[in-house]
């Protein structure tokens, strides 16, 4: 919209028309407006990066340069790796965005996406083969990329890991048909020991001092009279401690470089006195953190950004686990309510900028990841609300301020997951509702008492730790505590579950990737009854889950030696104490889960087969097999019968709901037979992100009437789009038949509500009543899209005009214009539920 047109209309006018994005633009401060517009769109549009966004070669070159230099040095690998990391931090280009109060970015320039060449050669090949993101001049860049890639072949983490994996499992995994992600310690979702580093008790310098003391003590011990196996182990500990120290020292140094830059800009280049003061404040902040604990909100937020930026220098991070109101809230309270050094508006400006700084973060990701997370770089689902370790309401003024800031800056990433519990005050619920009503698609709501119980049930985390949980990825609680935090959730344990039912039909052979991937469960036409069919389903489920879990278990076991994480270890109390890498399985309790993409297709398919083949005998199994082999081509009437006349999940129909519960219980039972290297369980967590589109062309025809190429359901335990015909309460009742504590780890539920119905006080009361039913039925999750079809269709026709429309995809939000047409259509197809 033209600038003049925005200026001429009032906030009220925009709000009445539900054009919340224009209203936000008018309401936010000029600083926030500038910063919001100054960020580059980093999430991939469909599967490709946006025009103008380029791969950052600087970091790859720096790391390769140092790796070459150290190749023949006598240092153990963990120290070499720490030195490479330090070299990157010491030499990367840094910048400060105009008007910004917070600094730090993963790349060397604002439009670049950081590329870590040491993770996987196959990723490096994607960098080379992605002409849209290669910086100009292309020929010179390609030469640099070739040089970097050639160095890392055989040396990258995945290259080192692959030959030691089971070859057969590896090839099945590499086919991409059953799993999504890599079994890597430096590519996935790192949780952190926030109780150690975010409570204000210590920061980097205190940890460095402790490490120095530990190294001296150990050194003394190793040279005292005597020699035992403990003495021998001590050498490895010393190496680990030294590596940790190298990374923390580099972290302090890069912060001081920012301080110097801000100081130079203030002293020599800035003419505006207010901005000069701001730059000097940045300099003071960066001198303070991360070396010493923060004293103010600005320092606390800056500390968090540095921690995350460095973590993203060490690894490719797919998530940003965080509980901002819990850990930054005390500083907000001190600055705004006690010292009054910040007004509420100034604090909201800072929080808005904090969201913007997080939104711009980006690292080069492979195409399968970009397609599965269209529109965003990773799932920064920040956890807010909930309770403290004693079970008291943890919501504070910053919980509210964060939601207000989110409505002003309207970024699609990070989003919030709100931990609902019965003591949440009405004023907080109203803020959540306002975010939803204004079409942000977040916060999603999580049932705190259920999830605390679930966390204790599956992993035995003590209640005081379980109560501190925050999302490790989209919706997986993990306590950020000494033994509770999981250092790496390897995304490879993400199962494309629609393959379970597909393989029942094909005897385990995958017709898309031409490989026997599943189990040989026999010719499906020979099954005489539903029990035999279900038995085959169970075997395929167990086979797929096992392949993925075996790979992750293997990688987690090898990781401490082969692919250590000295920086993450340095932020972890258990590693400081033990001298062992934080990935060492014996140091943690275990918090593993299998993300179950495309789960509900199994339920609707099983119900259709049970009803139409085995009970009504309307079709023989041979006819069904034949139709599916032909992708339903020539069998349209029969296909429609399987779509329309078989029971469908989400309609409070026990026929199919019982099948859902049976499948989940079978998976839950098997989850306890699968064990992670820490000895704990592998429960399943049905959700999808935008994997339903990524897998659309990889999953063949299914008995629920789906054809190869059709979008899969939007995931978790959400009913198929348009197939939940009995209203919103029936959906909740179906979902309420699942035991959300013992049947799995968490269960994503997407719902679409009509914006017009949510207008005014009446809308709030309707939604609140609906949420009471949700809470009473003890569902662990729910998220909402509140944007009407006409807006979404208008956005499809005229994307330029609707750049800021946000939708909840599944587990994350994205700007509607950044997701592929197929994903857009899939969201529009979701049933709009009427409340009341």
């Amino acid at each position: 919209m033209a600038k003049a047109a925005i200026a001429d209309r009032s906030v009220k006018e925009f709000e009445e028309k539900q054009e919340w994005w224009w209203a936000a633009e008018k309401k936010r401060s000029s600083r926030l407006d500038y910063l919001r517009k100054a960020i580059w769109k980093k999430g991939a549009i469909g599967g490709l990066y946006a025009p103008g966004v380029k791969t950052d070669l600087e970091r790859a070159v720096l790391q390769t340069q140092k790796a070459r230099e150290l190749e023949f040095s006598p240092d153990p690998y963990v120290i070499k790796f720490a030195k490479m990391l330090a070299h990157v931090l010491d030499n990367k280009s840094i910048f400060i965005t105009d008007h910004a109060q917070l600094v730090g970015y993963t790349g060397s320039l604002p439009h670049t996406i950081a590329w870590d060449p040491s993770c996987a050669s196959i990723l490096n090949e994607e960098v080379y083969n992605d002409p849209t993101a290669i910086p100009d001049p292309a020929e010179k860049s390609q030469q640099i990329i070739r040089d970097v890639n050639n160095y890392w072949i055989g040396k990258s983490d995945l290259d080192k890991m692959m030959p030691i994996f089971d070859m057969e499992d590896l090839m099945k995994m590499l086919s991409g048909s059953i799993g999504w992600g890599v079994p890597l310690a430096r590519g996935g979702y790192s949780s952190k020991d926030y109780e150690y580093i975010m409570t204000g008790k210590r920061a980097f310098q205190a940890i460095i001092d402790e490490l120095s003391q530990k190294i001296d003590e150990a050194d003394e011990q190793t040279h005292a009279p005597g020699a035992t196996p403990d003495t021998t182990r001590m050498y490895d500990k010393i190496n680990n401690w030294e590596a940790m120290k190298i990374t923390l020292e580099a972290g302090i140094r890069i912060a001081k470089r920012y301080a110097r830059l801000a100081g130079i800009m203030a002293e020599h280049f800035e003419e505006d006195t207010i901005r000069r003061e701001e730059l000097l404040k940045i300099a003071e902040t960066c001198e303070r953190v991360p070396a010493y604990p923060p004293r103010t909100l600005q320092e606390s937020l800056q500390y968090d950004i540095f921690i995350q930026m460095m973590s993203r220098t060490e690894a490719i991070e797919g998530a940003w686990p965080s509980r901002p109101d819990y850990y930054h809230g005390p500083y907000y309270n001190k600055d705004v309510n006690i010292d009054k050094s910040l007004t509420k508006e100034e604090a909201i400006d800072l929080l808005g900028e904090f969201l913007i700084r997080a939104a711009e973060v980006c690292q080069f990701k492979p195409k399968w990841s970009r397609e599965g997370l269209q529109g965003i770089d990773g799932t920064w689902v920040w956890t807010i609300g909930g309770v403290d370790k004693d079970g008291r309401d943890a919501c504070n003024d910053m919980t509210i301020a964060l939601m207000q800031a989110a409505r002003l800056v309207r970024v699609a990433n990070p989003t919030f997951g709100f931990r609902w519990h019965p003591k949440v005050k009405d004023e907080v619920m109203r803020e959540i509702f306002e975010c939803l009503r204004q079409g942000l698609g977040y916060p999603n709501l999580r049932h705190d008492p259920i999830l605390i119980a679930n966390t204790m049930h599956w992993y035995g985390h003590p209640i005081e730790e379980a109560r501190l949980w925050c999302n490790q990825a989209c919706l997986s609680p993990c306590p950020p505590t000494k033994h509770g935090f999981q250092p790496m959730r390897m995304a490879n344990a993400t199962a494309n579950c629609a393959k379970i039912i597909e393989y029942v039909m094909t005897n385990g052979y995958d017709p898309v990737v031409n490989m026997q991937v599943g189990a040989e469960t026999g010719d499906v036409t020979s099954f005489k009854n539903f029990e035999e069919f279900f038995e085959a389903w169970e075997k395929q489920m167990k086979t797929i889950f096992s392949i993925l879990v075996r790979a992750v278990n293997r990688a987690r076991t090898l990781a401490p030696n082969l692919t250590p994480r000295p920086y993450l270890s340095a932020l972890s109390e258990r590693s400081i104490e033990s001298g062992m890498d934080t990935l060492t399985p014996s140091l943690e309790r275990g918090n593993a889960w299998i993300t179950a993409f495309t789960w509900v297709e199994n339920i609707d398919s099983l119900a259709a087969v049970k009803k139409l083949v085995f009970e009504d005998k309307k079709y023989t199994m041979a006819e069904l097999k034949n139709a599916i082999d032909k992708n339903w081509e020539g069998y349209e009437q029969m296909r429609l019968d399987f779509v329309r006349n078989a029971p469908k999940w989400g309609n409070d129909d026990n026929y199919v709901d019982d099948i859902m519960v049976r499948c989940l219980k079978a998976a839950a039972k098997f989850s306890k037979e699968l064990k992670c290297p820490s000895g704990n369980n592998w429960p399943i967590l049905p959700e999808n992100v935008s994997g339903n589109i990524h897998y659309a062309n990889i999953v063949g025809a299914l008995p629920n009437g789906r054809r190869l190429g059709d979008a899969l359901y939007d995931g978790g335990i959400s009913p198929g789009p348009g197939l939940d015909k009995k209203g919103p309460t029936a959906v909740l009742k179906s979902c309420g038949k699942i035991n959300h504590i013992t049947d799995g780890r968490a269960f994503l539920l997407n719902q679409r509500l009509s914006p017009s119905q949510l207008a005014g006080e009446k809308g709030y009361q309707l939604w609140k009543a609906y949420m009471r039913t949700w809470a009473d039925l003890e569902l662990d999750h729910i998220q909402f899209n509140v944007v009407d079809d006409s807006t979404l269709r208008a956005a499809q026709k005229d994307p330029e005009k609707y750049q800021e429309v946000i939708v909840r995809v599944a587990g994350y939000s994205a700007h509607f214009v950044d997701i592929s047409r197929k994903t857009q259509d899939n969201i529009i197809q979701r049933t709009v539920q009427g409340l009341g």
């Binding site: 469909g46 590499l174 052979y509 898309v512 062309n697």
Partner: protein, 118 residues
């Protein structure tokens, strides 16, 4: 040879990316690439150019002279998008399409190569 050894041998060539010749002349152009053949299926896990043949089975080798064709077995012959298929007698060129590169719902296994001009 044990079953494991057989598999390891068959998969060996496909596991690691090949080194680039930094200053070499561009590879000889051929209009017959595995990636442009209807029998080729791209690996859905990675876009680094790996894939398999739906027609030839594991054990085939079209880089040999004469090419080795195996039609028995379940698992497809592992090859690469840019592998030279000029000597493969079973090569069948696919149709190119005109499609937005930002859309990831390509009907035939997301093969970006289908968007190349003829």
């Amino acid at each position: 040879m044990s079953r494991r050894e057989e598999k390891r041998k068959a998969y060996a060539g496909i596991l690691m990316p090949q080194k680039h010749e930094s200053n070499a002349a561009p590879p000889k152009k051929t209009d017959k690439l595995c990636g442009t053949c209807t029998n080729y299926s791209e690996s859905s896990w990675s876009s680094d150019g790996r894939g398999s043949c739906k027609y030839l089975k594991l054990g085939s080798d079209i880089t040999q002279r004469p090419p080795v064709y195996v039609f028995e077995g379940k698992e497809g012959y592992l090859t690469r998008t840019l592998a030279d298929a000029s000597t493969c007698e079973h090569y069948q060129k696919m149709k190119m399409i005109d499609k937005d590169g930002y859309e990831c719902s390509d009907p035939t296994f997301r093969r970006s190569i289908r968007q190349f001009q003829e």
